[in-house]
Amino acid sequence: MSKITLKNITHIYNGKVKAVDNLSMEVDNGKLIALLGPSGCGKTTLMRIIAGLIRPTTGDVYFDEDRVTDMEPEQRNVAMVFQFPVVYATMTVYDNLAFPLRAKKLGNEEIRRRVKNMAEFLEITPYLNMKAGKLNAALKQLTSLGRALIRDARCVLLDEPLTNIDPSSRLLIREKILKWRLERKQTTIYVTHDQSEALTLGEMIAVMNKGVLLQYDTPYNVYEKPANSFIAYFIGNPGMNLIECSFKKVGSKIVFESGCVKVSLPYEFAKAVEKEASGKVILGIRPEHIKLSKQKIEDGMLGTCVLFEDMGVTKVINLQLNSTRIRVKNPEFEVKVGESLYVTFPEEHIRIFNLNGEMIL
């Protein structure tokens, strides 16, 4: 296990496409962090740089104090799991798990013990004698996960390991990864485009877009205090509502307005927005924080339901407030399309971004 340090990593493909842009970060020894971003954001490139499959155009990779930038992948002792399960199809599950241990020339007894423990941990003991090629995708992925975790690598890189697994097995494998994190403490980077995987599994989350590291923080902060409007929208299901508003000072308040959206915040609290010369900001509020009422309420804004989705576990209501469309999440509320509702935005849940998307409040 090692601490991983990335220093000013830039990677440019074919001399023109910048996949990673001056990225620096540290992953503490024994931590599992999630690297989150949409497809094409550069996260897989970064993984490949850490694994040694790509040499960065500029910048350095350190494992603890060792500079590994010029080392070949096999010298780095990094374990990887990919989106598509990679197993030795003609070997049994047992031999798949034993493979990296045999390569390290461990004794037979030691190998048997470790394979047995890993198989029990992953609950794949009944399949040990089956050929890996005959397994379904989820069991194959568990096998390749086992092969990565069994070998005491300096770090484990998991590159979208659940993307091609059916939803019911996905939860099961996720649970195993979480259990591994809690019990074994191995430095792990989990790459994903799925925010719920990142929020569930990561002790820290690094959010990337267009090659740039946008925020590297705890799951709580990334969700509640997104550094910019991209993260605010990208994280959350659905993402944060973002409404461009003009603002002006009225008495001891600052009033934010856009069509029939009208919200006021105490001046002392919100005065930082006055720096915005454009007179405009983006107001953000998460769908689950919006309050709904069928009766008229004080400061309530009137909207019309245009789409109602009952997801079973919760409900998503799309409301039209003049030209602004907002999404509201509420586990209880039943509404019909065309019905009118009053909404309020509780002050403590309002976030304000400037027009460049950077968080102000």
Partner: protein, 362 residues
């Protein structure tokens, strides 16, 4: 009224029965999801409707006309595949226009249709690009546009969103649902994800091992599954099932499990004493508290051992008396170490199944 009628369709590949006597009527201008796990038979059903696969038995009717023996091109049915292919040497515009050119429309008609569908799917600015210059999500939109640009009677969509990024999937679900409604189209959509059905579909057909288990309004199938099998496979996260025993005490009837006991006297006419039943409770009908909840709810102690934060919600995994319980909370809740709490539910949400035949009795 126009409709798609699937009548007694059976199909086997070698020795394996893929579809077993499937019948359903899909109304015009509706969104139907064919839901089932991988290998349930949903893709085969779509391929039979499209005409690229022949059923061993059964007939397909479109608007009252038997189309079972018609080749795909004469059916006026469009299909979007999970692994779509665009023509790499053609621009996005030409890819979308291609099915229209085959139909000999005039240049201005084609132009109008391509522009309209690109507008709806938000890909207008991509029209002059080539497929290799598109992201996965953009390419899938183009593939969908190419299918939807045709005036087909039915549009078949085979897991079109499965390989897409989560965030794009979320936006596309909304777009597809709106499009079906706004343009009055008929969508038949195969998916292994219960959320696809819950979020988009008017009706859902649940299939498993080639058999149609239940077909109806999505809401009805979810809240009132016909038997244990449907309740178990259609729901995310899966429903909690408890073994129970019906017992009479002082003239009142109770269902007793290893964890709790419920007075079910008001359902006396539907339950028999001294008989085994299964009780189903959806994870989102369970809540947690630090102490016992009084009032009308049923509570029991559990130990939470894992929490998964999913957006603004949390899936909690708990154990109690040797049983595994899943609880879905509509807020963020984290634990670092196992934690003892009470979970409770409103008996109104109870589903009770006959243990012998699996059928829902309450």
């Amino acid at each position: 009224m126009a409709e798609l009628k699937i009548e007694n369709i059976s199909k086997r590949f070698m020795d394996k029965v893929v579809l077993d006597d499937v019948s359903l009527i899909i109304p015009h201008k509706s969104f139907t999801v064919i839901y089932g796990k991988a290998g349930a038979g949903k893709t085969t059903l779509l391929r039979i409707i499209a005409g690229v696969e022949k059923p061993d038995k059964g007939r397909i009717y479109l608007n009252g006309k038997d189309i079972t023996d018609l080749p795909p091109k004469d059916r006026n049915i469009a299909m979007v595949y999970q692994n779509f292919a665009l023509y790499p040497h053609m621009t996005v515009y030409d890819n979308i226009a291609n099915p229209l050119r085959a139909r000999k429309l005039t240049k201005s008609q084609i132009d109008e249709k391509v522009n309209k569908i690109s507008e709806t799917l938000g890909i207008r600015e991509l029209l002059s690009r080539y497929p290799k210059e598109l992201s996965g999500g953009q390419a899938q939109r183009v593939a969908i546009a190419r299918a939807l640009v045709r005036d087909a009677d039915v549009y078949l969509l085979d897991e079109p969103l499965t390989n897409l990024d989560y965030k794009i999937r979320e936006a596309m679900r909304e777009e597809l649902k709106n499009m079906c409604k706004d343009l009055s189209l008929t969508f038949v959509y195969a998916s292994p994800d219960p959320l696809d059905a819950l979020m988009m579909a008017d009706k859902v057909a649940v299939i498993n091992n080639g058999k149609l288990l239940q077909y109806g309004l999505t809401k009805d199938v979810y809240y009132s599954p016909k038997d244990i099998e449907v309740a178990t496979i259609f729901g995310s996260p899966p429903i909690n099932m408890f073994e129970s025993y019906a017992k009479e005490e002082n003239g009142r009837l109770f269902l007793e499990t290893r964890l709790f006991k419920i007075d079910v006297t008001k359902y006396k006419d539907k339950l028999l004493p001294n008989k085994e039943y299964k009780i189903g409770i959806r994870p989102h009908h369970l809540a947690i508290s630090k102490g016992i909840q009084a009032n009308e709810t049923i509570s029991f102690p559990v130990e939470l051992y894992l929490t998964h934060v999913v957006g603004a919600e949390t899936i909690c995994y708990a154990r109690s008396n040797g049983l595994e319980i899943t609880i879905y909370l509509p807020y963020i809740y984290r634990i670092n170490y196992p934690e003892k709490v009470y979970t409770y539910f409103n008996p109104e949400h109870l589903l009770v199944f006959d243990k012998d035949n699996g059928l829902k009795v309450i």
